[in-house]
Every structure is written in structure tokens, then in C-alpha cells.
């Protein structure tokens, strides 16, 4: 079961089907994600983008009745192998959510908490600083570390959530429409940040915003809903290619704004 895939991919899915009870939400997804690049997943509402993303670090486990067939491989190992502890998967593959969701604790605690529970033995202060610097928030909050995180603005909160994800030292960061609740300026800041982080991390982002996908990602996967309401991947490739010269009519229609 293990080691049957090429380890060069950050994540590889093979014939991935995702079910909610009897309903097949996503079908036949075979996708290879390039490491240390930004991959965006786009497509109309209800096509299973977020479902696929959440399956990459087993966040779907918490939805009753959800199950997965086929394989999702991280460094050659199927993360749905029954012997794998999903907690470990989530430490290695972090996630940033749609709405900023800082803990109702201090800014410092928000960043330090994940590292602490994961048995981090080195200096926490250094780690907090390092992560806040990486998430371009350090300058704004370095004197306010003990302030409640909820006192920050929405954009700052989202960057704090990114810093928080970095602190557990993941290799991949999943972002589920991270800018949908933010204003354009905060959105741009996050996009710049993603670009910087992609030097060190693999980033997979689900987005509704076509310009964002075009601007900020290296690769783009286009999903759509089939007649049986199951989402599937229609097109996948280098972003410029997908945007300028899509192979499928439906991709072109979607990108040019004719539906979705």
C-alpha cells in the first residue's frame, strides 16, 4: 500500500472519491501537487473544492458519515491508512480557514499553543517571533503580544491564523478561501504573504476569486459538478496555461465569467 507512489509530489491523489453517507460529493480525482508551489483549486459553488481540500488533512473525519475511497498520498504514504494517526497528518499538513478564527486567547498564546501541545521543546518566544515575522505581522503586534487576538482587525487575524499554522511546522498549508471575509487591501497582503511562504511551503488554496487564482498561483485545478451532482476535476495545469488556453469549453466559460 505504501511507497507505491512517487515521492516527488507533495500530495498525490489516486481515483479519489469522497462520500457523505450515500451521496458521492467528489469522484475520480487524480491530482499531483508540486512541492513548494502554490496550487489553486477553482470551480463553481458546490463542486467539492473545499471537500477535496479538507480531505488532504483529514478534517472531513469530523463530519459524520463522511468517507473516502481511493488514495491520498503524502510523501509516499496513504494518509487514510488505518494505522496512521490523523492528528499527525494535521500537524504535517496545516490549514487556514475561510473566516479568521483565532482562539479567544492572547496573540502570543494563539501562536504558541499548537507548538506546545505538539511537544515543542525549544524556546517558544523565538518560535512565536519567527512565525509572526514570516506571516508579516511581527511589526504590527510585537508590542501587543499579550493583547487578546480578537482585538486585531480581520486581515491581521487571518495573518495570525497563518502564523499559528506555521508554528506547528507543517510542510503543506491548505487555505480554504482565506480572503473571502477580507477587504481588498488585506487580501493583497495575504497574497504577497503566500508568495513569500511558497519558498518554504507547499500551498494549496481554494478560491472563488478568479483574479486571485490567476495572480497568485503557479498551478490551477478546475473542478465542476457533474450531472449526478458529484464534483470532479476537469482540468489541471500551469496557471497561465489554464487561464489563457484551457482545453475544455467549460473551463473557458467559467474563467471568462459566463457561469458560476
Amino acid at each position: 500500500m505504501t511507497n507505491q507512489t512517487d515521492k516527488q509530489w507533495a500530495i498525490e491523489t489516486q481515483d479519489l472519491d469522497i462520500y457523505y453517507s450515500d451521496f458521492r460529493a467528489v469522484k475520480n480525482v487524480s491530482l499531483k501537487i508540486e512541492p513548494k508551489k502554490i496550487t489553486s483549486i477553482i470551480g463553481p459553488s458546490g463542486c467539492g473544492k473545499s471537500t477535496v481540500l479538507r480531505s488532504f488533512n483529514r478534517m472531513n473525519d469530523f463530519i459524520p458519515g463522511s468517507r473516502v475511497t481511493g488514495g491520498i498520498f503524502f510523501q509516499g504514504q496513504n494518509i487514510y491508512d488505518p494505522r496512521i494517526d490523523p492528528v499527525q497528518v494535521r500537524q504535517r499538513i496545516g490549514m487556514v480557514f475561510q473566516k479568521p478564527n483565532p482562539f479567544p486567547k492572547s496573540i502570543y498564546e494563539n501562536v504558541a499553543w499548537g507548538a506546545r501541545i505538539n511537544n515543542y521543546k525549544e524556546n517558544l518566544n523565538d518560535l512565536v517571533e519567527e512565525c509572526l515575522v514570516k506571516s508579516a505581522l511581527w511589526g504590527e503586534v510585537k508590542d501587543l503580544l499579550q493583547r487578546p487576538a480578537l482585538s486585531l482587525s480581520g486581515g491581521q487575524q487571518q495573518r495570525l491564523c497563518i502564523a499559528r499554522a506555521l508554528a506547528v511546522k507543517p510542510e503543506i498549508i491548505l487555505m480554504d478561501e482565506p480572503c473571502s471575509a477580507l477587504d481588498p487591501i488585506a487580501t493583497l497582503k495575504i497574497e504577497d504573504l503566500m508568495r513569500e511562504l511558497s519558498a518554504q511551503y507547499t500551498i494549496i488554496i481554494v478560491t472563488h476569486n478568479m483574479q486571485q487564482a490567476g495572480r497568485a498561483s503557479d498551478f490551477t485545478a478546475y473542478f465542476t459538478m457533474d450531472t449526478d451532482r458529484a464534483g470532479s476535476m476537469i482540468e489541471y495545469g500551469v496557471t497561465s496555461q489554464v487561464f489563457t488556453n484551457p482545453t475544455h469549453k467549460s473551463t473557458e466559460d467559467y474563467i471568462s465569467g459566463r457561469f458560476g
Binding site: 503524502f74 510523501q75 494518509i79 494505522r83 496512521i84 494517526d85 492528528v87 504535517r92 505538539n118 511537544n119
Partner: protein
């Protein structure tokens, strides 16, 4: 988790997450959380079982009058005519006449006559009783104990719950006592409580939800006050009832003002008014919630047609909120049905054989009887207390079931 598999790290920081220990801790705590929930469920089960345990079981019965003085053989061999003769010669003429009027002795079954002879001629009395589980698993312990203490007694199985228990009033003898008086007392009490509390409570709720939306100081004071009253211990309401309804309003609550010969203010009226004050905060809060659930569009539609505020409330808001209000009222009433402490203080009688006949009667209620019988030292009184508890719980559960089913039915309709 057997044989955990670690994700192999390709980077340099493959550090120890201490996962195995963390997951072990998680499993243990989850078991503890589950256990605490189960303790609640098990406690409920034990409580019910322990009450049923007292409501049925073996009893030792002894004759007060030696039966050998009346008959020479076993009672089973005595003929029907002889049984009638026994009754007619040994009971007072008045008693015989009463019995004959209920059903002529000659027309009664042999079994019926035998029971009459046992209870009225031989005057059988229960001298000892045993729990249900004891009776099932270790009946001989009880038999030995009875044989030692009451050699004359016979041991048989008894259900303390009998139709007579619901029909009879108080008695100093446990097996003859019933809760009819208390049952009527409780029902009458609830009737008074509801007829005072319901209109008051619903009116107050309408005021707070519909008229006081501007959030005046008065409505804020009333709201805070209701929230505070909801947490006042019931015994304090008892003290209030004692000073206000029993003493200060004595001319009214004793009925003297209306020409009744009431001895004092410790009447069912005073108790009902006290209970009404007690459930008022609960009732108001429940009614408020029901009224708050009425969609605003309904009110706007009504105002848009030129209706006044009261017309809007009366024709649209109240009909919509009524099921919720009634459900909340039933829940408040079931609280009143089980309350004991305020009744003790406003002076429910513990020994009374007359059914309540009017607002100014002395009275007793089921919880008062349970309390009274529980605190008696004799085991037999605890047996009938258990039966009274079963009756009370049956009433409460059926009231709640009605409320819940009703609510679900209405919710499904919408």
C-alpha cells in the same frame, strides 16, 4: 491503535510529537466523560428501581383476633352461608347494613366474602414487610425473621399499589391508607394556581415582549426582577405565603369575609396563591420565549392593514405563540405539582380525611403525604410512600409527555 505508523519526514525537523501518550490520555478522558454521563442515567435507573423495590414485596400478616375463636377448620372449607353468618354475627349492625347496601351479601362471591371475613372479622394486620428484590432473591431470610418475631403470621406477596389506595383517604394503618384526599388536594391546588398564574403570567409576558420593546426603566426593572425571582428558593415563597396569604389576608383566605366558618388562613386558597407566585417567573419566562418566536413579519403585516397594537397581538401574535405558551405552562405546573417545602410552611395538613370542598378548605397534597409517610419510622409507611411517589411521577411524566408531544406536533405542522 495497534502498530502506529509514523509519517516519514523528509525534512530535518522530525521531532517527537509524543503522540502515543497524548492519544492514550485522550482515550482515558473520553472514557471518563462517557462515564459521568452514564452515572446520571444509572442514578435515574437506581432511583426508579429503589422506589419500585419498596412498592411491592412480601408481607407478614397476622390476625388481631384469633381465628380459632371463630372457626375450627381452614377458612377455605367454610361454606358461603357460614361466611355470611360469621359476618352478620360479628360485625356491628350498621356495618352489616352498609355492606348489604353496597352489594347484598348473598349475591357476593365466595372469594369476596372470604376477604371480608379476613379483614373485618379476624382483623388481619400487616406486621412486617420486605423489599421486592429481597422477596425475589432471599425470601427465606424474611420468612425466618417473621417466624421468629411473629410465629402466628402468614407470609404472602403484596402489591402496595391497589385500587383502594387511590380511593381511600388517610388512615393510621398503612395498608388501609390511601391518597384520595391528597390527590384531590393536589388537583384542586393546581387548578387555583393555574387560574391565577396563567392570566397574570401571559399578560406580563405580553407587556415585556410587545409593549416594553422601547426598553423603559420600568420594563428593565421588571425583567431583572423576574430573573432574580426565578432563583429564589421555594421555601422563601413559603415564608411569603405564610405572612401574606395566611396571616395578613386571613379574613379573605380563611373565607370569614364571605361568611365561611374558616378557622384560620391555612387553606387551599392561600396555598394556591403561594404556588402561583412561585411559578409566575418560570411561566413568564416561558411565555416570553414563545412570544419572541413569533416572526416580526406577522406583526408588520397586521399593522400594515391598519390594525391597532392590541388587535395585532390578539388576532396574530397570541394564536401563533399559544402552543408554546401552553407547553411552557404545563412545565411550570408540573413544577408546582411536585413542590413540597412551601406547602409545609403555609400549613398543609398532614392528617386529614375530608376531600377539599371549596376554596377555604384545609387540604393536603401528594408531596406532603410522601413527606409525611417517609418520615414515619414504620417500614409499611415507606411502602405506601413509594406507591404515592409512583402515582406522582406518573402524573408528572404524563404531563410532560403531553407537553413534548404537543410541541413536536405543532413544530411539524409549521
Amino acid at each position: 491503535m495497534k502498530n502506529p505508523l509514523n509519517l516519514v519526514s523528509t525534512t530535518t525537523y522530525g521531532r517527537d510529537l509524543n503522540l502515543e501518550q497524548r492519544q492514550k490520555k485522550a482515550t482515558i478522558w473520553k472514557a471518563l466523560f462517557r462515564l459521568s454521563t452514564l452515572v446520571g442515567v444509572v442514578a435515574l435507573a437506581i432511583l426508579i428501581i429503589s422506589i419500585v423495590n419498596q412498592a411491592f414485596g412480601l408481607v407478614a400478616i397476622e390476625d388481631t383476633n384469633d381465628r380459632n375463636d371463630f372457626i375450627s377448620t381452614s377458612i377455605k372449607e367454610v361454606t358461603k352461608t357460614e361466611l355470611i353468618q360469621l359476618i352478620e354475627t360479628n360485625l356491628s349492625t350498621n356495618r352489616v347494613r352498609t355492606l348489604d347496601r353496597e352489594e347484598p351479601l348473598v349475591e357476593r362471591s365466595r372469594h369476596d366474602l372470604m376477604a371480608l371475613v379476613e379483614t373485618e372479622v379476624f382483623k388481619q394486620r400487616i406486621v412486617d414487610s420486605y423489599s421486592l428484590f429481597g422477596s425475589i432473591f432471599t425470601p427465606n431470610t424474611f420468612r425466618d425473621q417473621v417466624a421468629k418475631k411473629h410465629p402466628e403470621a402468614i407470609v404472602e406477596f403484596k402489591s402496595w399499589f391497589t385500587p383502594q389506595f387511590l380511593q381511600e383517604s388517610m388512615s393510621k394503618t398503612p395498608e388501609l391508607a390511601g391518597i384520595r384526599t391528597a390527590l384531590f388536594g393536589s388537583l384542586f391546588l393546581i387548578l387555583i394556581t393555574i387560574s391565577v398564574a396563567f392570566p397574570l403570567g401571559v399578560s406580563a409576558a405580553i407587556y415585556l415582549e410587545e409593549y416594553a420593546r422601547q426598553n423603559t426603566w420600568l420594563s428593565r426593572v421588571i425583567q431583572t426582577n423576574i430573573d432574580n425571582l426565578a432563583g429564589v428558593p421555594s421555601i422563601i415563597y413559603g415564608i411569603l405565603g405564610l405572612t401574606i396569604f395566611v396571616r395578613a389576608f386571613e379574613p379573605i383566605t380563611s373565607g370569614r369575609l364571605f361568611g365561611y366558618e374558616g378557622a384560620n388562613g391555612r387553606t387551599i386558597l392561600a396555598a394556591g396563591l403561594t404556588m402561583a407566585l412561585l411559578i409566575l417567573p418560570i411561566l413568564i419566562t416561558n411565555a416570553q420565549e414563545a412570544i419572541r418566536a413569533v416572526p416580526n413579519s406577522l406583526r408588520q403585516a397586521s399593522y400594515g392593514l391598519g390594525a391597532t397594537q392590541w388587535q395585532t397581538i390578539w388576532y396574530h401574535v397570541l394564536p401563533y405563540a399559544l402552543p408554546g405558551i401552553l407547553t411552557g405552562t404545563i412545565l411550570a405546573i408540573s413544577r408546582a405539582l411536585g413542590e413540597t417545602a412551601p406547602l409545609i410552611i403555609v400549613g398543609a395538613a398532614t392528617y386529614i380525611t375530608k376531600d377539599p370542598s371549596g376554596l377555604f378548605s384545609n387540604f393536603t397534597a401528594i408531596p406532603i403525604q410522601i413527606y409525611n409517610w417517609t418520615t414515619r419510622p414504620q417500614q409499611e409507611f415507606r411502602n405506601i410512600a413509594a406507591v404515592a411517589i409512583l402515582v406522582l411521577m406518573f402524573m408528572l411524566l404524563s404531563m410532560n409527555a403531553v407537553a413534548i408531544l404537543w410541541r413536536n406536533k405543532i413544530q411539524n405542522k409549521r
